[in-house]
C-alpha cells in the first residue's frame, strides 16, 4: 500500500502543478498540435492527415472506401478518417479541440457550422491552393459560391443536399392519385383524406432540422426568415406559412411531428415526408414499396434551400498538412470519385463533370429519383442568412417548430418570441459579420 499511495500522491502533485502552469500560460501563445490518431504500420513513413467527419452507417462506409482508395493510390499521404457523430456533435468536438490546441487537419462542416468557424477565423483561405486544372470552376456554381466570401474560397462542397419530397407510390396508386406526386400544397391537402385510408398520416414532419425543411415553406409563401441579419419572422407571409402547416397538423390531422421521419415513412406510417437527398440511397433500399420523389410542393411560388456539408481546412494546422489536405480534396473532386460518392449516398454530385460519368448516368436511369434532386437543383438557393450564421439559430428554430407541431401554442406567439431571440443574437455578432463579409 505504502509505495503506491506515495507514488500516486507525487504523481498527482505533479499533474496538478502542470495543470495550473498550463492553464496559466494562457491560450493565445501556445502551439497547435495535430489531434490524436493512429497510423497503420505500412503507412508510417507518410504524411499523416487527420480528417474529422460526420458520416456513419451507409455514408460512412462510402467515405471510408474513398479514403482507403486514396491511401492506396499514392504513397506520400495517409488520410485517417475519424467519425465524430452528427454535424453538431462534430463541431462541438472541434471547438473543444481548438480550445485544447489539438486539432484535426481537415473537417466536414455543414452549411451552418462552417460559417461559425469562418467567423471565428479558424479556416484556411484556399485560393492559393488551386492550380492547373484544379480550380473553383470545376464545382457547380451554386455550391462553390456559397463557400466563397469576399472572393476567397473557404469551404469546398462535398456532401451537398437539398430537401426532397418523398412519397409512397404504392399508396398514391391505391388512392387513385397521380403517381408523380403533388405539385403544390393545396393539392396535397385535398388528397389527404384519400391517402389516409391507406396510411395513418399524410405527412411526417421531422423534428431534427425542422427549420431547414421549413425554409422551403417560408419561401413558397413569399416570405423569408431574414433579410441579411434582419429577422423577418413576424411578417405576414412567414406567419401564414407557419399557420398553414399548423392547421395541417391540428385541424386536418394530416401531418404530425414524427420521432423519426425516415423510419415512419419506410414503414408506411406516413404517405409522404420531406427528407434530404442524402437519405435517398438508404430509403430506396429500406422501403418495401415503390419510393417516389418530386420537387418540394409549391404554394404561391417555389422555394427550396440547399444544405449538407463541405470540407474546411484548419488554419492552425501545419503548412505541409494543409497542402496535403488540398491534394486529398483534389483527388476527391475528380468527376469519377464525385459520381461514386453520389451513387453510394444520394448526395448531389458537386463536380460539374460528374453528371456525365457513365456510372452516374446509368444509376439515374435505373432509379429516376436520383435525377429529381439534380433537376431541382437549378431552382434552389442558399438559406436565408440568419439560420447559418447566428450561433445555435438552427436549434432554436427547430425547437420553435417542434413546439408548434406538438402543442397548441399559437404561431404568432412562437414566431414572435423566436424573432426577438434571433434578432438579439444577430445584433451581437453584427460587428464581426460586417468585418468578415462586407
Amino acid at each position: 500500500m505504502k509505495p503506491r499511495s506515495a507514488l500516486t500522491r507525487r504523481g498527482f502533485l505533479a499533474a496538478a502543478g502542470g495543470t495550473m502552469a498550463a492553464l496559466a500560460a494562457g491560450c493565445g501563445s501556445e502551439q497547435y498540435v495535430q489531434a490524436a490518431g493512429s497510423v497503420p504500420r505500412q503507412y508510417r513513413n507518410r504524411l499523416h492527415l487527420v480528417f474529422w467527419h460526420s458520416f456513419g452507417s451507409k455514408p460512412g462506409e462510402a467515405l471510408t472506401a474513398l479514403i482507403n482508395e486514396f491511401n492506396e493510390s499514392q504513397s506520400d499521404i495517409y488520410v485517417e478518417g475519424q467519425f465524430q457523430g452528427s454535424y453538431e456533435a462534430s463541431v462541438q468536438k472541434l471547438s473543444a479541440a481548438i480550445i485544447a490546441h489539438q486539432i484535426p487537419d481537415l473537417v466536414i462542416l455543414s452549411e451552418v457550422t462552417w460559417r461559425k468557424m469562418h467567423l471565428a477565423d479558424r479556416l484556411e483561405p484556399l485560393n492559393d491552393y488551386f492550380e492547373g486544372d484544379f480550380t473553383p470552376d470545376i464545382y457547380l456554381e451554386n455550391f462553390i459560391n456559397e463557400g466563397t466570401v469576399k472572393d476567397t474560397v473557404w469551404w469546398i462542397p462535398f456532401a451537398r443536399s437539398t430537401p426532397l419530397f418523398y412519397f409512397n407510390r404504392d399508396v398514391f396508386e391505391k388512392a387513385g392519385l397521380p403517381t408523380e406526386g403533388p405539385k403544390n400544397w393545396r393539392e396535397l391537402k385535398e388528397w389527404a383524406p384519400a391517402l389516409q385510408e391507406h396510411a395513418r398520416y399524410t405527412l411526417a414532419l421531422a423534428g431534427g432540422y425542422a427549420s431547414w425543411y421549413f425554409q422551403g415553406n417560408v419561401w413558397q409563401w413569399g416570405g423569408r426568415y431574414s433579410d441579411g441579419l434582419d429577422v423577418t419572422l413576424e411578417e405576414e407571409k412567414a406567419l401564414e406559412a407557419g399557420q398553414w402547416m399548423v392547421d395541417f397538423v391540428r385541424k386536418d390531422k394530416a401531418a404530425y411531428l414524427s420521432p423519426d421521419a425516415s423510419v415512419d415513412f419506410m414503414n408506411g406510417v406516413a404517405a409522404c415526408t420531406m427528407l434530404s437527398t442524402g437519405n435517398l440511397a438508404a430509403v430506396s433500399e429500406g422501403a418495401k414499396f415503390n419510393v417516389g420523389t418530386t420537387f418540394l410542393p409549391e404554394y404561391d411560388g417555389f422555394g427550396c434551400p440547399t444544405g449538407g456539408s463541405g470540407i474546411g481546412v484548419m488554419r492552425d494546422a501545419a503548412p505541409e498538412r494543409k497542402q496535403a489536405a488540398m491534394e486529398f480534396i483534389r483527388w476527391l473532386s475528380q468527376p469519377a470519385k464525385s459520381a461514386q460518392w453520389t451513387i453510394e449516398t444520394g448526395y448531389m454530385p458537386v463536380v460539374k463533370a460528374a453528371q456525365q460519368e457513365q456510372a452516374l448516368v446509368e444509376t439515374a436511369e435505373k432509379n429516376p429519383n436520383y435525377r429529381t434532386a439534380l433537376n431541382q437543383l437549378p431552382k434552389t438557393k442558399p438559406q436565408d442568412l440568419i439560420r447559418p450564421i447566428v450561433p445555435s439559430a438552427g436549434e432554436m428554430m427547430d425547437t420553435a417548430l417542434q413546439k408548434l407541431y406538438s402543442s397548441n401554442e399559437s404561431v404568432r406567439d412562437v414566431f414572435g418570441r423566436l424573432d426577438k431571440q434571433l434578432q438579439r443574437k444577430a445584433d451581437l455578432i453584427r460587428e464581426t459579420y460586417e468585418a468578415r463579409y462586407l
Partner: protein, 298 residues
C-alpha cells in the same frame, strides 16, 4: 393499498402459525403474488424487449401489433454479426474493460485510504472536512465536462486511457459507504493492533481490510458497473474508435442522417447490457447487502 392490510400478518414479528386459512386470507395471498409478478414483469420487460428486438429482421422491428415472441426460426442472427462489424466492438470491449477495471481499482484504493482516515484518525474539524468531501457529489455532471477536457488536454491525455480514467478517480460515494462500514467495526481490534506497535498502514492492511471485505466487494461492483455504463465523459474525451468505450460506440451507431437498422442497434445494445446483467445476477446478494448496510446505518 392492499399490502398494508396484511402487514400485521407479516413475519417481522414472530407470529404463531396460522391455524385455518380463511377465504380472505387466501385472496390476500393471491393478490400479493400477482403484485409480485407484476413488479418483476415491469422491471424486466424493457430488457426482454431489447433482447427480443435484437433478433428481429429490420422490417419487423417496426410492426404493430408488436411481435412479442419472435419464433426461433425467424431469428435474424445476422444482426449480431452486423452489429459486431458496425463498430470495432472487440476494441470497444477492451477499452470498456480497461476503463472499468483500472478506474475502479484506482478509485477504491483512494476511497479506502480516505475512509480509513475519517474512521480511525484524528483531525481537527474532521466532520467539516467530511462535509466538504460530500459537497463534491453536488457538482453537476455537465458542468465538469469542459474544464476537465481542458485540463486533460493540457496534460496531453485527450483520447487516451489516462484521460478516460484519471478524472473519475476521485471518490465520494464509495468513500462514504466504506467509512460508514469502518465506523461499525469494534474499536478493540484496532486498539489491540496498536498495542502490538502496528502503524496505521499495517492496521489498515492486515486488520481493517479483511474485516471490510463485503463492503469493499460491494463498492467495487458498484464502481465497475457505473464505469461500464458511463458515456458522457468518454464521448467527450475520445476522438477515435480505438479509444471509445461500449456505450459511446452504441451511441455512434444511432446518431446519423442515414437509415438506422434498429435490429442491429438493439443487438449492439445487447453487447453492452448483457455482460453487466450477468455479473450482477451472480453477485447480487453482495451488492444489495453492502448498499443497504451503508444506507440504514445513516
Amino acid at each position: 393499498m392492499s399490502t398494508a392490510t396484511t402487514v400485521s400478518t407479516s413475519p417481522t414479528t414472530a407470529a404463531p402459525a396460522e391455524r385455518k386459512p380463511t377465504a380472505g386470507h387466501v385472496l390476500g395471498r393471491v393478490v400479493l403474488y400477482l403484485l409480485l409478478v407484476l413488479v418483476a414483469v415491469v422491471a424486466i420487460l424493457p430488457v426482454y424487449w431489447l433482447i427480443s428486438s435484437s433478433v428481429k429482421q429490420s422490417g419487423d422491428v417496426h410492426q404493430f401489433p408488436p411481435n412479442w415472441f419472435p419464433m426461433p426460426w425467424t431469428w435474424e442472427l445476422r444482426n449480431y454479426v452486423d452489429a459486431w462489424n458496425a463498430a470495432p466492438f472487440g476494441r470497444l470491449y477492451i477499452n470498456s474493460i480497461v476503463f472499468a477495471v483500472v478506474g475502479t481499482a484506482g478509485e477504491i484504493a483512494v476511497a479506502i485510504l480516505s475512509a480509513y482516515a475519517f474512521a480511525f484518525l484524528r483531525f481537527p474539524a474532521k466532520n467539516v472536512v467530511f462535509m466538504v468531501f460530500l459537497g463534491a457529489m453536488m457538482v453537476p455532471g455537465t458542468v465538469v465536462l469542459m474544464p476537465n477536457y481542458l485540463t486533460v488536454a493540457s496534460l496531453g491525455w485527450v483520447n487516451s486511457y489516462a484521460g478516460l480514467i484519471v478524472p473519475g478517480l476521485g471518490s465520494v460515494f464509495a468513500m462514504f459507504l466504506l467509512r460508514q462500514h469502518m465506523l461499525t467495526l469494534p474499536v478493540e481490534v484496532t486498539e489491540a493492533a496498536k498495542v502490538d506497535g502496528a502503524g496505521h498502514l499495517r492496521i489498515l492492511w492486515s486488520v481493517i481490510l479483511p474485516m471490510s471485505r463485503p463492503m469493499v466487494a460491494t463498492v467495487v461492483i458498484i464502481s465497475l458497473v457505473q464505469r461500464w455504463n458511463e458515456f458522457i465523459w468518454p464521448l467527450i474525451v475520445t476522438t477515435t474508435d480505438t479509444m471509445r468505450t461500449l456505450p459511446v460506440g452504441l451511441l455512434m451507431l444511432k446518431s446519423d442522417e442515414g437509415y438506422v437498422n434498429y435490429g442491429v442497434v438493439m443487438a449492439a445494445s445487447v453487447f453492452v447490457v448483457v455482460p453487466v446483467l450477468v455479473v450482477f445476477f451472480l453477485a447480487q446478494r453482495q451488492i444489495i447487502a453492502g448498499l443497504t448496510a451503508g444506507a440504514t446505518k445513516g
